[in-house]
Amino acid sequence: MPRSFLVATFSDPATLLNAVETVRSEDLRVHDVFAPYPIHGLDEVMGLRRTRLPWVTVLVGLCGLAFALCFQYFAAVFDWPVNVGGKPDNSTLAFIPICFELTVLSSGLATVFALFVRSRLYPGKLAPVFAEGVTDDVFALVVRKPESADEARRATSVLEKCGARDIEEKATGQ
């Protein structure tokens, strides 16, 4: 089902923050906010849940650690033990640096990859454009347009009262 949106643009983040708060208190649904930089405090106002991506870091990091430890143990103790300077085959302390490096490598790569997957970012993707200049200096608030005409009119007036510079209606983000 095609959705339509009301796109209100602002020239400064403070007005936008107030607008998001007002819009939500007026029972309108905020689809998303587009901004040239992350606005602090917007997460709470939009009611966004804190991302769970750091769990990916922890879990993949633990897997990397376990893999590094097991693999070194397997190679140095089972597959071909080599006597180097009389050191024990299982020199666990000497395995720590590589365990650390592989933990960081696996968890770092996995976290960034998870971010790309979660936010659906991939090479060549066409970015949805609700308003021109959101990567430059425009702040845009995109509100789900209510079904009924009365409600839609009310939404527009709420946005106007919040100090929107411009309000447009868009079908999808193209």
Binding site: A35, R50, A94, G108, L115, A127, D136, D137
Partner: protein, 488 residues
């Protein structure tokens, strides 16, 4: 520096004027958010000036020299260098440690200063990270070409299927740790750098009109739309990456130092090496960041983003780490005297009075005395002097590694194996060539990619503008209250 402190309203009585002093600004000239985009994209839209072309031509020449000399090295073998049986590590490993050290400032600036919430990093972190990546590339080159058979370089990795039968690399060896540390550091730095650049690449995608550039930046920017849902995740992920990169930075040079410290050679076999090397790495890295940013701000007209305040802060870090390095030198001498080990003591006497004493004195002058100049705020904000200091730091740190490596090796336990190392034209040529590789990459970077993190600077500018508005309205309210009191 003129705008460090000013008041909004000059006719306010003195006490309340004191209350509305603004904190230090990080960007000069009060640009709007849109102007930030214009200013930082300008070098990528205009044809570069003569200064850039001149630097690029010299860098390209050095790079061509590197390619020629490395080609010749592969054909002839490492006998064309001045190495011998006693001094098996010389310029190559010196250059390796030198470049890895330089590669430490970038991630330090972007990760550690992010965790400490230092907003001044925003103007310099992108180029410092780029510097890290190019420096680590140069560093990686040297162990590779130092191998007699560089085409077998993949042997240093454990890989599947294992063609060496069940024999694996020796995981107890610091040289193997080094392979893992450097490659992890390179990969994570590269990912962190790219991740930080994605929003700016999207800005350029929306800005450029030429279809080719637009297409390239469309692929690179991954369809970034500026959605706050993405921004919220993005910020957390950046923080996580910074948290991962911080111990990584410290681990890399610690592991490099273990290449030396785990051996028994006098001058190498000391426990202070890891922290000493890390401090030296940060010191040399900041030296190189200063050199590069001074060149960049002058040739690309970015003085209002890379301000004297940034140079001042970086000079302070250089002073701190330089002093730690000086302290480490003193500790080494003290330990040699106090430890009463004959060989260790001989090594340090030889270091200061032997045939390579000149290297030791260059190192002391450049790394112990030079940074002490930075106590003066006049020197910290004098660009030409600071530039000279930064070059001296780089020279000093190269000689430090030369002293540690060559001087330690040339006279060890057996006088019968004592020897001297004299660099050949290929030793020097490849060192110069590595600078060519580094500067070619860096100059291309400042020409084609956003060398200042636009979105981060916009955040700083936005917060400053907001603060001004709030402080301004406070001032107005206070003045009104005072007027009311006066009328009453």
């Amino acid at each position: 520096m003129a705008t460090t402190a000013f008041t909004h309203e000059d006719n306010v009585p003195l006490p309340s004027r004191a209350r509305i002093l603004l904190p230090t600004r990080l960007v000069d000239g009060n640009p709007t958010i849109g102007e930030v985009t214009d200013h930082i994209s300008a070098p990528m839209e205009a044809t570069p000036g003569r200064g850039w072309w001149l630097c690029f031509a010299v860098a390209l020449l050095c790079l061509a020299n590197l390619l020629f000399m490395v080609g010749y090295l592969f054909a002839k073998g490492i006998g064309i260098w001045g190495l011998n049986n006693t001094i098996g590590w010389a310029f190559d490993i010196t250059n390796f440690v030198f470049w890895v050290g330089i590669g430490h400032a970038g991630t330090l600036i972007s990760a550690v200063l992010l965790l400490f919430r230092q907003p001044w990093r925003t103007s310099i972190n992108r180029s410092a990270e780029a510097m890290t990546i190019f420096a680590v590339m140069c560093a990686g080159l040297f162990p590779l070409i130092h191998m007699g058979r560089p085409w077998d370089a993949f042997f240093i990795f454990p890989y599947f299927p294992n063609q060496r039968g069940p024999l694996w690399v020796n995981f107890r060896s610091p040289l193997v740790w080094d392979v893992f540390a450097i490659s992890t550091y390179f990969t994570i730095s590269l990912v962190f750098w790219y991740l930080g650049m994605v929003p700016d690449l999207a800005t350029l995608r929306d800005r450029f009109t030429s279809p080719i550039k637009k297409a390239i930046f469309r692929v690179l920017s991954l369809g970034w739309s500026g959605s706050h849902r993405t921004w919220a995740r993005y910020e957390i992920v950046s923080l996580v990456m910074a948290g991962l990169a911080t111990p990584l930075v410290l681990s890399v040079h610690s592991i490099v130092s273990m290449d030396f410290a785990t051996s028994v050679i006098p001058g190498w076999h000391t426990t202070i090496f890891p922290p000493y090397f890390v401090a030296g790495a940060i010191y040399s890295g900041f030296g190189m960041v200063l050199t590069l940013l001074i060149i960049t701000r002058e040739t690309m007209n970015l003085q209002r983003y890379i301000t004297l305040r940034h140079l001042d802060y970086m000079a302070k870090v250089t002073l701190l780490t330089g002093s730690i390095v000086g302290y480490a030198y003193a500790t080494e001498f003290f330990a040699a005297w106090y430890g009463d080990n004959l060989y260790e003591r001989f090594h340090f006497i030889n270091r200061a009075t032997g045939p390579y004493a000149f290297g030791f004195y260059i190192m002391v002058v450049c790394n112990v005395l030079t940074p002490q100049l930075l106590w003066s705020s006049k020197i910290r904000t004098n660009v030409p002097v600071l530039f000279i200091v930064s070059i001296l730091v780089n020279i000093g740190m190269w000689f430090e590694r030369f002293v540690i490596i060559v001087v330690s090796l040339h006279r060890t336990f057996l006088p019968a194996s004592w020897s001297m190392f004299y660099p050949t034209i290929f030793d020097i040529g490849i060192l110069v060539g590595s600078f060519g590789l580094f500067f070619t990459c860096f100059l291309l970077f400042i020409r084609f990619l956003p060398m200042i993190a636009m979105w981060e600077v916009k955040g700083v500018v936005g917060v400053e503008a907001h603060r001004d508005a709030v402080v301004g309205s406070h001032a107005r309210r206070e003045r009104e209250e005072e007027r009311e009191v006066a009328h009453a």
